[in-house]
C-alpha cells in the first residue's frame, strides 16, 4: 500500500497553524490527494474506538465533526422491528426491519494510532446494537444536556451493562441553564470517580479535553499486568 502511505493527510484540521507531527509528504505530492485523503495512512496502524453516546440532539455528531479528520461518515445498521439486531442476511425479507444511521469519525494520532469515534444512540430500543458497537471499545463519552439530564440515565445504564467505563461531558448549549459541576454530579447520580467535564461540542480543544478525561479515567482503572 505504498500509494496510501505516501498520501498526505490533508484533511487533518488540527488547530490552525499547528502542524501535525508525522504529517507524511507535503500537499500535492499525491496524484489525487482528495480521493486519497479518505484512506488510512498505513496498514500497520492500531485502530481503536471510543463511543460518543447520548440521546438524540445532544451533540454527538457535532463533537465527532469537531474532532474527525474526515467529514463524519455514517453506517446503516439493520434492526428488526422487535429490536433484534440482524447480523445475518438470512430471513431479512420476512421481517420488518428498520435502519438506524450511526455517525462516526476518525482521528489519526501520532504513533501509528487511529482513533475512531462512534456516535451511539442512547435509547434502550437500540440495545441490540450495543453489543456489537461496544465490542472492543476502550470507553464511552456520555454527552448530556442540562435541559434534559434525565435522558442520559438510559445511556449510562446501557453503557454499564455493556461493561464500559465512561466519562460525562455536559454539552454547554448557550441557551441552556448553567449549573455548577457539583449540582450536575448530584443530578446525574455519578460515582465519585466518574469524570464530569463541561464541553462545547463544537470546540475541538474542549472536545479533546473531554476525551483526555475519559481515557485518563479508563487508564487509571485498568489494572497493572501481573508479571
Amino acid at each position: 500500500m505504498d500509494s496510501a502511505l505516501s498520501s498526505p493527510n490533508t484533511r487533518t484540521p488540527i488547530d490552525a497553524g499547528r502542524p501535525l507531527p508525522d504529517t507524511g509528504s507535503p500537499p500535492g505530492s499525491g496524484a489525487h490527494p482528495d480521493t486519497h485523503a479518505i484512506y488510512l495512512s498505513g496498514t500497520d496502524q492500531t485502530l481503536v474506538k471510543l463511543l460518543v453516546a447520548g440521546p438524540f440532539g445532544v451533540g454527538k455528531t457535532t463533537l465527532i465533526r469537531a474532532l474527525s479528520e474526515t467529514p463524519p461518515l455514517h453506517t446503516e445498521e439493520v434492526m428488526t422491528q422487535s429490536g433484534a439486531f440482524v447480523d445475518d442476511l438470512a430471513g431479512v425479507r420476512e421481517k420488518t426491519t428498520t435502519t438506524v444511521a450511526m455517525d462516526f469519525g476518525r482521528l489519526t494520532l501520532p504513533g501509528d494510532l487511529v482513533l475512531y469515534l462512534f456516535g451511539t444512540p442512547g435509547q434502550k430500543r437500540f440495545r441490540p446494537l450495543w453489543h456489537d458497537i461496544a465490542c472492543g471499545a476502550l470507553g464511552a463519552l456520555v454527552l448530556a444536556d442540562t435541559r434534559r439530564l434525565a435522558d442520559s440515565f438510559e445511556v449510562m445504564d446501557i453503557i454499564e451493562e455493556a461493561g464500559l467505563r465512561y466519562a460525562v461531558a455536559v454539552n454547554t448549549f448557550p441557551d441552556a441553564p448553567q449549573y455548577n459541576v457539583g449540582m450536575l454530579r448530584d443530578a446525574l447520580d455519578l460515582h465519585a470517580e466518574t469524570p464530569l467535564v463541561l464541553c462545547d461540542a463544537r470546540d475541538r480543544g474542549q472536545s479533546v479535553d473531554a476525551l483526555i478525561a475519559l481515557v485518563g479515567h479508563v487508564l487509571a482503572h485498568t489494572p497493572q499486568e501481573t508479571p
Partner: protein, 119 residues
C-alpha cells in the same frame, strides 16, 4: 430530575472479559483493517464485492468506512468481506494486535496521542 436506582454492579463486567471479546474466525469487527490483496479479480465476484475491491484498491480502510462509503449496512459488508477473505482477494487484520489487547499500553498511547494535540 429522577435519581437512578442504586442497581450498579459491584464488579463491572469488563473485569470478567478483560474488556474485549475476541471474534471467531471470519467474523469481522467494524474496525477490521481491510486491504486489497492485489490478486486478479475472478469472474465469479459479485457486483457488491467488486465495489469493495475497487474502493480498497488505492488504500486501506476500516470495515465501517467501507460500509459508509458504499452505503451498505455493516452486517452486509461483514458477509461480503468474509467471502472475499476466503477467496484470497482481501486481507483483513484485527484492529488491535493481540499482544496489546489487554494491557495498559494501548490506553497510554491513546492518552499521549490526545495530549499531543493540545501541546
Amino acid at each position: 430530575m429522577t435519581p437512578r436506582q442504586g442497581n450498579r454492579r459491584l464488579v463491572p463486567a469488563y473485569l470478567a472479559t478483560g474488556g474485549r471479546a475476541r471474534p471467531s474466525r471470519n467474523t469481522f469487527d467494524r474496525l477490521s483493517l481491510l486491504q486489497h490483496a492485489g490478486m486478479p479479480v475472478t469472474s465469479d465476484v459479485r457486483p457488491e464485492e467488486h465495489r469493495i475491491l475497487e474502493l480498497l484498491r488505492p488504500g486501506a480502510l476500516s470495515l465501517a468506512e467501507v460500509a459508509a462509503h458504499l452505503h451498505l449496512p455493516v452486517s452486509v459488508v461483514n458477509v461480503l468481506v468474509a467471502d472475499l477473505v476466503d477467496a484470497g482477494l482481501l486481507h483483513a487484520r484485527v484492529p488491535i494486535p493481540e499482544a496489546e489487547q489487554l494491557d495498559r499500553h494501548i490506553l497510554e498511547r491513546v492518552l499521549d496521542g490526545l495530549r499531543s494535540l493540545k501541546s
